[in-house]
Amino acid sequence: MSEEQYLISELAEKAGVSVRTIRYYISEGLLPSPDVRGRYSYYDESYLKRLEMIRRLKDTHMPIREIKLKLDSSTDEELEAFLALYERTTTKAMPALDYIHEVQASYPAPRSAKIRTATPKGLKSKEAAKEVFQSGLMPEELNDEPWLRYQIIDGVELHVQQRVYKADQRGFRDLIRRIKEWLRAA
């Protein structure tokens, strides 16, 4: 079974870098010298893997010199672990959906004019609740703490006190995602 072999132009095309960049990496020792047969140099699959690793390390703003040291001194597992740690903690790596949820959470949804039918928290009896609704007060206006309304899908909302939400933002976002999935499947 022979492994795929590429010319420098093919390798460049596949890896999404310029031929110049590949030559530069070789001159800097980030890539080993290729197999030369006659007039041409041939590059195998391992070059693709290494170029991908270099790209990911470059994304962490590591200078070329350090990338070489890192590549020379780490096993594949160590490199993966390092990159996973970086990719998890930088804000850039936070995908679009999580980013949007973060922004939405910092701006509570405005109140609607509709009267809720659930008994608001803090009221002792149905009579008291009836009185509140008749007075036109909205449940959130009863206690001083702000509430967040998150519309899950049309007709289904999560209503949670801001303090509670902020205590476990990730947990609530996860909950919201699961409720959505459950509603879709139902």
Binding site: S18, I100, V103
Partner: protein, 410 residues
Amino acid sequence: MSQKLNFEMGFEKDLIQKDKPAQRILEMVLTAPKAKKKGSRPALNLALVIDKSGSMHGEKLVYVKQAAVHVVELLEETDRVAVVAYDTHVDVVSESVKVSPENRQKLVSKISEIQCGSSTNLSGGWLKGGELVAEAGLGKGINRVLLLTDGLANHGIVDMEELGFHAGQLLERGISTSTFGVGHGFNEHLLEYMSNQGGGRFYFIDKPARLTEIFSQEFESLASITAKAIEVTLTMPKGVSAEVMGSWRAEESGKQLKLWMGDLGSGLRREVYIKLLTPPQSGKNKLVFSAELSAKNADDMDYQLTAEAALTYAAEAEVKAEPVRKAVMERFSTVEMADMTTKALILERKGERKKASRLIQQSLHSAAPYIPGKLKQEYEELSDRMETGLDEATRKNAHQVTYLRKQRRG
């Protein structure tokens, strides 16, 4: 056939004096590759975000619904669309669905049911649109939120800088934003800023009856994209300061200047100008500017391109004798005039009419040799009218014209 952009850089003159600082114009020209085969286009993952606040009542909402239905009819089964309507409250008219014949019918009927409400939670509607696009999965196609409004954002996030910042963050995470302003009551600077930061395009719709045409225009431009998420990082030599013209999103960090240039349709050109101030000679004979461009091709594969341009130090006589590349200066001058006019429009809106008028006069004076007569006349008229104050229609029209000119958009 290459699926990559063509990327070139050059100056209006290549020589600079040894003993004095100089202003030079760096022109970047990007040409998008032609679409691979006729009939193939990227899959679209869109959210239509529609303002249904009180002011949209009547004709405007009728035309918006018509335009939205038209877009739904242009989309195919490989595309996805979500529809959000917002006033004070944000309503998901439709979750993101594939545009199959069955779904198309449902979408059309849901869109026709949109009713007017009260205030304008623009940020809420826009973020919801982004959320639906993100949930649908950011795969190989184009992910974009189309945000329409006729008024001022007065609920949720209302600060222009903040909205623009979030639009930029979404762009970096794969979702672009185009903005559509209908009528005369919206904030054109806010909408333009969001689209600049968000990698999309801004549209001014003077007459609601033109909404369908404008939405079609955006659809066509999306369908023809062959280069997406274009970013250019320019490494500048020591001592050079740069100003990016045209309101393109740009960030400087140390010697590097990063520009975001959005997406580009088949065969189209993007021309971006950077005004440079170069120092007198100290050591090197040349000032070398190198740029690295990254973009995704039609198959959603990342690729990089490089380009380089250099300025050479020379004696005064030699520099003066070197001819200017007239075509470059002409293109740059229209961009610079448009940039200055945008600033003047902001001043005029704030009530600083004399200052606004003078800014246009001064800019015309320095751009004089390269501005054609007719254009000069147009700007002079605008400058005159600014002294007594502009009406809203004129402001909006002038803003739209200068936006298209400064970004060299067709």
